[in-house]
């Protein structure tokens, strides 16, 4: 073996030597040829850029023309079919502008997000696929991957650039996850044409819109590289939720709590907000730790919590970060979820767990756990909200209770439509009128507006308790001081 190897090598070397001179000559000429090619390519690049730029400018002008009056009927190009469903448009003629929704349509969130898409379509249908004179088409895009079963940063960024580059897109409804929003907002903010308007029905991470001692130094400014805002949300941020859950915890007599988080933007944020609120209410925070979504068991973690003697556990995070196993291990180590600290150890969860998927994945262990969602529960909405819930349930045949975020998705669609009505196909104008939105007949609350940060002026938080589904336990309105405290300091 060795010998043949050596012989082979020697032969090869001899041949190599013989070829050496010829090679050197060849080497030089190949080098030259490739250099020439490279220069040629660069020159072509430059030429290409120039030519294409003209084309781009022309297109922009064309869109501007059709944007003003919708009757002309624009010719919008659809978003890529790799992550977006085909465009839905059932109005007259053809759509002038596109709005897209960006939600994780696979994995644990699917139950919620599919209903949100239906909600958005329902609203568009009610408006006859029109915002004022502008015909509005809709595409539902997916920011999750089937393999991970949750949102994927690569998909978020891919989608964001697709929206930014498609001139017909004037508004995006999404995202569901704050982590994904942090990726999409800056791209849309810096998008050509003055940025793309974005309305999230579900992001609750505080620092997306507001600076505060709990945020990084460059938050939220780093999300808005263009210097102006383009993002609003329909749901009160986590300072409200943290404050409300802490307030509720105190009302049932909890004095100490162990706070866990999944280290994602949303989970860590809400865990910190809750901790700050709990501390300011005088509760003892027995510990603040993270769970690793890739771990197979959290028993050791919960034993540590047991040793700390905490009366309750708060799970800042999402069900799709292996939350089912976390809940199961909580119950197996600390016992069933109690209603008050006298009966056992209470489990408190934010809106990342308030979905039927939690009950499906955690099984019996979910029973008795408290979870919260900012806003009023669907069955207690009034006016336009009640009307929406009733007619939507009837048309979609959805089983009650409605998933908590469906009404918010519908409200987000209303806001975008109102903004497009005023702004037409002009991206910058749509953003401007989005921030001017006010209503006296809203779905999620009878009266609310959007402040300059992009946050809605609504504040109650609903506490649910898990049984066969999530049942409403109590609606809590957190005190303003406590909300401030929840934004809190410390990292």
């Amino acid at each position: 073996m060795l010998q043949t190897g050596v012989r082979a090598l020697v032969e090869r070397r001899t041949i190599a030597n013989a070829n050496d001179r010829r090679r050197q000559v060849r080497k030089k000429s190949i080098l030259l040829a490739l250099l020439a090619l490279l220069i040629g390519a660069l020159a072509l690049t430059a030429a290409g850029c120039g030519g294409d730029d003209d084309g781009g400018g022309g297109d922009a002008a064309a869109t501007g023309d059709t944007g003003g009056d919708g009757d002309g009927g624009g010719d919008v190009s659809e978003l890529p079919s790799a992550s977006c469903e085909a465009m839905v448009y059932e109005g007259e003629g053809s759509p002038d502008v596109l709005i897209a929704s960006d939600l994780p349509l696979q994995g644990s969130s699917r139950v919620q997000t599919v209903q949100m898409v239906e909600g958005i379509q329902f609203v568009l249908e009610q408006h006859g696929w029109k915002a004022g004179d502008t015909n509005v088409g809709y595409q539902s895009c997916d920011d999750s991957t089937a393999q991970a079963g949750k949102w994927d940063p690569g998909k978020c960024s891919q989608n964001a650039n697709a929206y930014a580059q498609n001139e017909a897109v004037v508004g995006v409804i999404g995202t569901f996850n704050s982590g994904c929003a942090a990726i999409i907002i800056p791209v849309l903010n810096n998008a050509p044409g003055g940025g793309v308007a974005m309305v999230s029905p579900a992001n609750t991470y505080v620092c997306l819109t507001e600076a505060g001692p709990g945020c990084a130094k460059d938050e939220p400014d780093k999300y808005y590289p263009a210097g102006s805002r383009n993002y609003t949300r329909m749901v009160a941020h986590d300072a409200y939720q943290g404050a409300a859950v802490a307030q509720y915890a105190q009302s049932i007599g909890i004095e100490s709590v162990y706070v866990l988080n999944d280290r994602e933007a949303y989970g860590l944020g809400v865990a910190q907000n809750f901790r700050n609120a709990a501390e300011s209410l005088g509760m003892k925070v027995s510990g603040f730790a993270a769970w690793d979504p890739k771990a197979s068991s959290y028993e050791a973690l919960f034993r540590k919590i047991k040793a700390s003697g905490a009366q309750s556990v708060f799970l800042g995070g999402l069900i799709c970060e292996n939350g089912g196993q976390v809940i199961k291990d909580k119950v197996s180590v600390l016992g069933p979820n109690a209603a008050t600290p006298d009966e056992g150890i209470v489990l408190l969860m934010p809106d990342g767990f308030t979905t039927q998927a939690t009950i499906d994945e955690a099984g019996k262990s979910a029973a008795g756990a408290f979870s919260s969602v900012a806003g009023v529960p669907a069955d207690q909405l009034e006016g336009a909200g009640k009307e929406f819930v009733d007619s939507f349930m009837e048309s979609s045949g959805a089983e009650p209770p409605l998933e908590p975020y469906t009404a918010y998705a519908a409200q987000a669609a209303e806001v975008i439509l109102a903004a497009v009505e005023a702004g037409g196909a002009d991206r910058a104008a749509v953003i401007q009128s989005m921030f001017e939105f006010t209503t006296t007949d809203g779905i999620i609350a009878p009266e609310f507006e959007i402040n300059e940060n992009g946050d809605p002026t609504v504040g109650p938080v609903t506490i649910y308790v898990a049984a066969k589904s999530f049942d409403t336990q109590e609606v809590v309105t957190p005190e303003a001081e406590l909300v401030e405290a929840a934004k809190g300091g410390g990292a």
Binding site: V6, G56, P153, P186
Partner: protein, 411 residues
Amino acid sequence: MERVKGRSGMGAAGRGWNQLPERARTLIPATILILLAVLYPWYHENWLAEFTNVPVIINFPSVSTAVIVIVFVIMAVGLNIVVGYAGLLDLGYVAFYAVGAYTAGWLASGHFQQVSFHFGSAGISRDLNGIHVNVWIVLLAAGLLTALAGIIIGLPTLRLRGDYLAIVTLGFGEIVPVFVRNGDNLGGFNLTAGTFGINPIDSPGFGEGLNGAWGGLPVNFQQSFIREKLFFYAALALLLITLFCSVRLRESRLGRAWIAIREDETAAAAMGIPLMRTKTWAYALGAFFGGIAGAYYASFKSGAFPSEFYFNISVFLLCMVVLGGMGSVWGVVTAGSILAWLNVEGLANIGTYLKRQTPLDFEVAKYQFGIYGVIIVLMMLFRPTGLIPERRRKLEMEEGVQDESVYGASR
């Protein structure tokens, strides 16, 4: 490549073709391919983009897809240096991709708020904190840093061989994502921003100096409606440089040493080839291209996130190399382009097509890695030399210049 082309030319044309000097036979098809690639955005916009209902694939890859495809091809060509040329199985190439992406994050974003350092950054306000180095320089820095990472990983591990080396690289490939995921609190120092990832990362641009030159080069890619095209041309230039280096490396003294090691390590050592140094060079150079591609991709996506760097990416890249033919640059480029396109939108489109046209409700994209698995297994079983085999590699496979086989390994 030249052989394949030579054979396919039939009749008189074929005879004429064969009479051309060898150099021309390589350069003519290469030139045609390069021209086709360079003109792609133009004929895509004016011609291909009109087809929105192509059977099976629905639409032709958009320019932004093409950028991602090129980035992955660059990585595959880099991996080909390690796996194909030097015969070192690397199952953790994703680690180099991660290092490249995070270098871009460190050197071209507002991540380090403590400092404010600007160096030739294009279209970035001077008021912004953080380190903002010109992205072109960052690419080079990322390549060098990744090469250094390759050397650091390589030095202790390269004396292992075969499957043990593969497992060690896999271990590194797993540790790096854990590290970047948890690197937001290293004794209180935030190095990687944890699960949040570093976001946003600066875009390349032409700066104020060239602004408006040649009919409107933008200061910064991001703020332009032709962003995708600009990224495409820059990526294509990077790919051409990578290919050029890769081809030249193979013919160089170093490249011949790699191939000797691949064919018979013991014999190569006996001939006086310094094993460690030669292998480490393979690692460093392979990593270099992975780093450049990673940094460029991070800039294109304007972010680097820990959840992107997982084992499947390493296997995906390996699949490109296996399918194309280990050691065959043109094979890897071909297979890489096809697979990367399938990954970005091809499979999803085929799934959509099946859903629309047939009663079959089969989400092709969901099983992409299963499909790559099938490709790998079938290729290894029936055509281990790849689609476009390298001549020498083919001889090795067929005539049995090889290291110990599984059976011969009984010691």
